[in-house]
Amino acid sequence: MTGLLIILVSSILVNNFVLARFLGICPFLGVSKQVETATGMGMAVTFVMAIASAITYIVQELILVPLEIEYMQTIAFILVIAALVQLVEMIIQKVSPTLYQALGVYLPLITTNCAVLGVAILNIESGYNLLETIFNGVGAALGFTLAIVLFAGIRERLELSSVPDVLKGFPVALITAGLMSIAFLGFQGLL
């Protein structure tokens, strides 16, 4: 149990996927203009990551390893992720058309979100069992959500403050992201 908790805390805070591992930067910068859409994106990524972690683990253990075709890992995992993203897209379009509109192109782009493939491959490399894999996947996704929602909150405030013209938009966003990353460095000694 302590092991699972450590994995969870580690993937959310210490090894935060966005701010410590620098994975999934694209949606982190792209969909972080409003807290609401950022939360939606976080939820979508959480869903995809959690399910993808479980399914890729099963695919790895039941198909790739027994058949000795581990070299097909990337392709097989991308297949799983792509199918999941399609599913999520359908669900979101049905449940919340507004969120679908707000996420725009970044929703299908979860397919190529390196954080999702990253978590799947890291799970296998760390030699986790199924339960640990799911905990790591959910933790990584929550870490992503935490980062993107915090970032969106900061960016919402930035919109209202007087930023020098040269820094308006992405420059100041990147500086903010850098400062957040340094702040998250403080969790390094936690474990």
């Binding site: 058949l67 075709i69 097909m72 097989a76 297949l79 399609q86 599913l87 359908m90 669900i91 049905k94």
Partner: protein, 326 residues
């Protein structure tokens, strides 16, 4: 050897099939009912996804049309045919709404309008207007520093050599950016076919106008009395044209003592009677506001060209469509 090729193909192909089947099933469950008109509208659009309508691509435009957010004639590429097709699908008759253009309602050029002080500063009307309302004696006039010119995305408005902004009506799309930006509110959107305009924005009393500008509206109301169509309105010491009523007869421009009403008399139309269709009923003669048509029952009707102002009343009243304006 063959197994090394077969297993990956079978396993990955199998996974692909499985996921594909699952997604096909899911798409049935999560199917979204869309308005069938959207795809119909989409089909009659050019499909170039050029964005000329202001929406990202034809799909978005089709959705906006069905939602009632975009006009059916919003596609500039498709032209009249597309508009008609979209109109049929939406059950809307294509409106013959007129093209609007922006017009600067001030003729306070460097020579016409007096200066209050010399302005040295940022060449921007908004900045200049903060200093005692701008450098012109008249606080309502065009400052001519080109804020509108800089903002116009279509290169359709320019400050001319006389220091007043002027709209290129060919290029103007009536987007309204200059109208909103002008600190003096001296730009108006008007129908392009209306030739007559009051070139004054001053709400001051006649004497003050006279002191600050040679061509200002002094509020004498001569135009209001002269207009045969009740199209001149008067409020806040300034004459306005009600373009719903204006017929381009240009009488007001003729009468205005300060030349504050502008009309290009070269564009003045003349009535022309097609004698073949004319049944000599004298209806046109009775309705002409300037007595420019002569003729009795069963005698040929003649338009007196020097009197005709091209207002088009006779054309409208003629029961046989025998009168055209040229």
């Amino acid at each position: 050897m063959i197994e090394q090729i077969l297993w990956p193909v079978i396993s990955l192909g199998g996974m692909g099939l499985l996921f594909g089947g699952g997604l096909a099933y899911a798409s049935k469950i999560f199917a979204i009912e869309t308005d069938p008109r959207v795809s119909k509208v989409r089909d009659v659009l050019p499909g170039a996804n050029c964005g000329g309508c202001g929406y990202p691509g034809c799909d978005a435009f089709a959705a906006a049309v069905v939602a009632g957010e975009a006009p059916i004639d919003g596609c500039p590429v498709g032209g009249a045919d597309t508009t008609a097709n979209v109109g049929t699908i939406m059950g809307i008759e294509p409106s013959t709404s007129e093209k609007m253009v922006a017009r600067v309602i001030c003729n306070g050029t460097n020579t016409n309008a007096k200066e209050k002080y010399k302005y040295y500063g940022i060449t921007d009307c908004r900045a200049a207007s903060m200093i005692a309302g701008g450098s012109k004696e008249c606080q309502y006039g065009c400052l001519g520093l080109g804020t509108c010119e800089n903002l116009c995305p279509f290169d359709a408005i320019h400050v001319n050599e006389n220091g007043v902004a002027e709209v290129d009506e060919e290029k103007c799309t009536a987007c309204g950016i200059c109208v909103d930006a002008c600190p003096k509110l001296v730009i108006d959107l008007v129908p392009v076919s209306k030739e007559v305009r009051v070139l004054c924005n001053s709400k001051d009393k006649g004497k003050e106008v006279k002191n600050s500008c040679v061509v200002g509206c002094i509020g004498c109301k001569i135009c209001v009395k002269a207009c045969p169509f009740d199209a001149m309105e008067f409020k806040d010491n300034l004459a306005y044209i009600n373009y719903d009523k204006c017929t381009n007869c240009m009488i007001c421009a003729e009468k205005c003592p300060t030349n504050a009403i502008y009309a290009n008399f070269a564009n003045r139309k003349k009535a022309f009677i097609n004698q073949d269709n004319c049944i000599k009923c004298t209806i046109c003669k009775k309705n002409c506001p300037v007595e420019a048509i002569e003729g009795e029952v069963k005698q040929a009707h003649i338009v007196l060209e020097d009197k005709c102002v091209g207002c088009g009343v006779c054309e409208e009243k003629c029961p046989k469509d025998a009168i055209t304006l040229k």
